[in-house]
């Protein structure tokens, strides 16, 4: 949480003692020093209908042991950013036009493909939304788990299988030894997602990116999977980027939140402060649209309109067509992500908002 003091946007390189050789021990890292820094990332997609600006200057950072929740509707650029970090963006049609992604101080975007591959899976791992389609249907889960050890550590067939069983036990899959040869379709949704988690954990990476890890699951299973993820994260002191559109999922596990809209971060804040006092009308709208028991009988709030097409993002503030606080300036001037101050004018650590009227939103 100490990282909250660090402004997300102008994060110049990490301190000298944080510059680690990739693959250096986790313990040598100064606590709270960013593990991953995304800086001014721009991503465009060339489609048949024109150029879609999916990510327009996103910056965020994650430290070891820290959980960053990236919140946004579909099309906000949250998953595209994650794919760029993983290096699994489809290029073409995607293209990173600007920015850097530094992992332990080294820019992933300028690395050789081979060096990048050594980071992928081993240092940064990803958990996908739909485990059924994300696991290979024709290979046993044991093979798919063991493959991590065989490819990255040169383990033999038998050793890999043994480690796969261990992994499955670690994510608490019952009868792991009997089920190691089973195929993905033979598991329930929750168990499949546990296998995805196990796969991501296999080589004890420094950072895990979880892209909507519970969206495809039943509500009861969601909580179990999230708890497991949080527990394992604490155990290994991993950084975690949790991508979601669901505010409810975030509250318990995240340290800080970045809210994205139309390819930009519109607000960042420590998780509880964001819930208590949002500083952007969009965040406020999201929070208001959660049904609450104490508001029974009242009309549920919904943000009017639809997210903008990435081919034609409105000028000025992209949120202006849907905003209930909209003024002329919102149509002409792009609001910058600026520090948010409290009523006395003191800096609120970690809080930033990209709204011309953050003050009114926060205090009004």
């Amino acid at each position: 949480m100490t990282d909250m003091t660090k402004p997300a946007r102008d994060g110049a390189g990490p301190g000298p003692d944080a510059v680690q050789v990739i693959g250096g021990g986790r313990e040598s890292l100064v606590p709270g020093t960013p593990l991953l820094e995304v800086d001014d990332l721009h991503i465009k997609f060339h489609t048949r209908d024109g150029v879609a600006k999916a990510v327009n200057g996103v910056s965020y950072s994650v430290a070891a042991g820290e959980t960053l929740a990236v919140l946004g509707e579909s099309g906000s650029g949250k998953s595209v950013t994650a794919q760029a970090i993983m290096g699994i963006l489809d290029m073409p049609p995607g293209k990173i036009t600007k920015g850097s992604i530094r992992f332990r101080g080294e820019d992933l975007l300028t690395m050789s493909p081979k060096a990048r591959r050594a980071v992928r899976g081993r240092k940064i791992a990803m958990i996908f939304q739909d485990a059924l389609s994300s696991l290979n249907p024709v290979l046993s889960v044991g093979y798919q788990l063991g493959e991590m050890f065989r490819v990255h550590q040169g383990a033999g067939r038998k050793e890999a299988k043994e480690k796969a069983v261990e992994l499955m036990e670690r994510v608490r899959i019952p009868a792991a030894r009997q089920r190691v040869g089973d195929y993905p379709h033979q598991f329930s949704g929750g168990m499949r997602q546990r296998i995805m988690i196990a796969m991501a954990l296999a080589l004890e990476p420094d950072l895990i990116i979880a892209d909507e890890p519970t969206t495809a699951l039943d509500v009861t299973v969601q909580a179990q999977v999230m708890d497991l993820l949080a527990e394992l994260q604490a155990e290994f002191n991993m950084g975690l980027i949790l991508i979601t559109h669901d505010l409810g999922v975030v509250a318990d596990v995240a340290d800080k939140i970045a809210v994205m809209y139309a390819g930009r971060i519109v607000e960042t804040a420590p998780v509880h402060e964001l819930y208590a006092r949002p500083a952007h009308p969009y965040t406020k709208g999201l929070l208001n649209s959660i049904p609450r028991l104490d508001q029974k009988g009242q009309n549920l709030y919904a943000i009017q309109g639809l997210p903008p097409s990435l081919l034609r993002i409105p000028s000025g503030c992209a949120f202006n067509p849907r905003c209930d606080r909209v003024q002329d300036v919102c149509h002409t001037e792009l609001p910058r992500l600026v520090p948010v101050l409290d009523a006395e004018g003191a800096d609120l650590p970690g809080r930033r908002s990209a709204c011309h009227f953050w003050k009114e939103t926060l205090h009004g």
């Binding site: 699994i88 591959r117 994300s134 249907p137 024709v138 796969m199």
Partner: protein, 314 residues
């Protein structure tokens, strides 16, 4: 698995019955008298004709003849031709050539077709992809007999006369052995090869977009491993279907290819028998080919279970 196989074999029986009936009916209706054809221009002794007609039950009603044939078939007896040869013997002589030819063709089809398809898929939209797409389209459009003649001329004759390379015999000869099958095998495979290449390309492109391929990349696997282990394995499923169904087509195509290269296989035999009105041979060979086709399809179905564990047979 065992029960599934039995069920599939039982299901195949009506198809075999229907197909042999259809074929038998067609051949039975062939015009001309087979006994008269036997003698050519010579005059025949009516007594001999009567004996022969009786021996081959030619005066029995059609359904009686078919029933006799069918019961024989289930005992493995394909009958005898009008020259007194056992049809089984004729087929036993001819089939090995065609089986060799079909397998050479199938091997070429898989090796060249799948490779071309994979290369095209991975270089999608690039020069090599267009080369594969255009050349396969052309191969599909050119009749096999034209491909056969041209390759025979260019590779069988010109290569020998102009460059002294006689590795590929112009027409079949036993001494050349395996080499004899290469050129005809390639000709027979050509059209299917083009289909396999295109099918592989489409299938692999589709598979490479799948979420699990993205996962494989995210695991930090090498591109080769991603394509071979995670992509191709899935992309192969429709290709196997095609190859299984194609075996029947290859057997049919053998009529033309064996004719061009003088291979004494079943295609050649069938073609001659149609002209000589050797009904029993024609029915025997076509029925056998239909069974080969059905058997290949059964094998394909079982291969599915190996390739795709989601398919479970009761």
């Amino acid at each position: 698995m065992g029960r599934y196989v039995v069920r599939r074999i039982i299901q195949a029986i009506p198809v075999i019955l229907g197909a042999t009936f259809l074929i038998y009916a067609l051949v039975f209706l062939l015009p001309g008298d087979p006994i008269a054809a036997l003698a050519g221009e010579k005059r025949q002794d009516p007594a001999v004709v009567a004996v022969l007609r009786d021996r081959y039950h030619l005066d029995d009603p059609f359904f009686v003849q078919y029933w006799d044939y069918l019961t024989g078939l289930f005992k493995g007896d394909f009958g005898e031709d009008y020259r007194g040869n056992q049809v089984v013997d004729v087929m036993q002589r001819a089939f090995p050539y065609t089986i060799n030819l079909a397998f050479v063709a199938l091997a070429i089809e898989m090796a060249v077709g799948v490779t071309a398809g994979v290369v095209a898929a991975l270089r999608r939209g690039k020069f090599i992809d267009n080369v594969v797409l255009i050349s396969t389209l052309m191969v599909i459009s050119i009749p096999v007999f034209v491909i056969g003649f041209v390759l025979q001329l260019v590779i069988g004759v010109k290569l020998n006369t102009d460059y002294g390379i006689d590795f590929f015999p112009v027409s079949f000869n036993e001494e050349a052995g395996f080499r004899s099958y290469l050129l005809p095998g390639y000709v027979l495979a050509s059209t299917s090869l083009a289909y396999v290449a295109r099918l592989t390309r489409t299938s692999l492109i589709e598979v490479m977009r799948a979420d699990y391929v993205r996962t494989a990349v995210a695991k930090g696997l090498s591109p080769l491993r991603v394509v071979v282990r995670h992509g191709l394995r899935n992309a192969l499923i429709p290709i196997v279907t095609f190859l299984g169904m194609d075996l029947g087509g290859l057997m049919g195509g053998a009529v033309i290819t064996e004719g061009i290269f003088n291979i004494p296989g079943v295609g050649h035999q069938l073609f001659q028998s149609v002209y000589l009105r050797e009904r029993t041979i024609v029915v025997g060979i076509v029925s056998a080919l239909v069974m080969v086709y059905l058997f290949a399809n059964l094998v394909v179905d079982l291969l599915y279970a190996v390739l795709d564990p989601r398919i479970r047979y009761e």
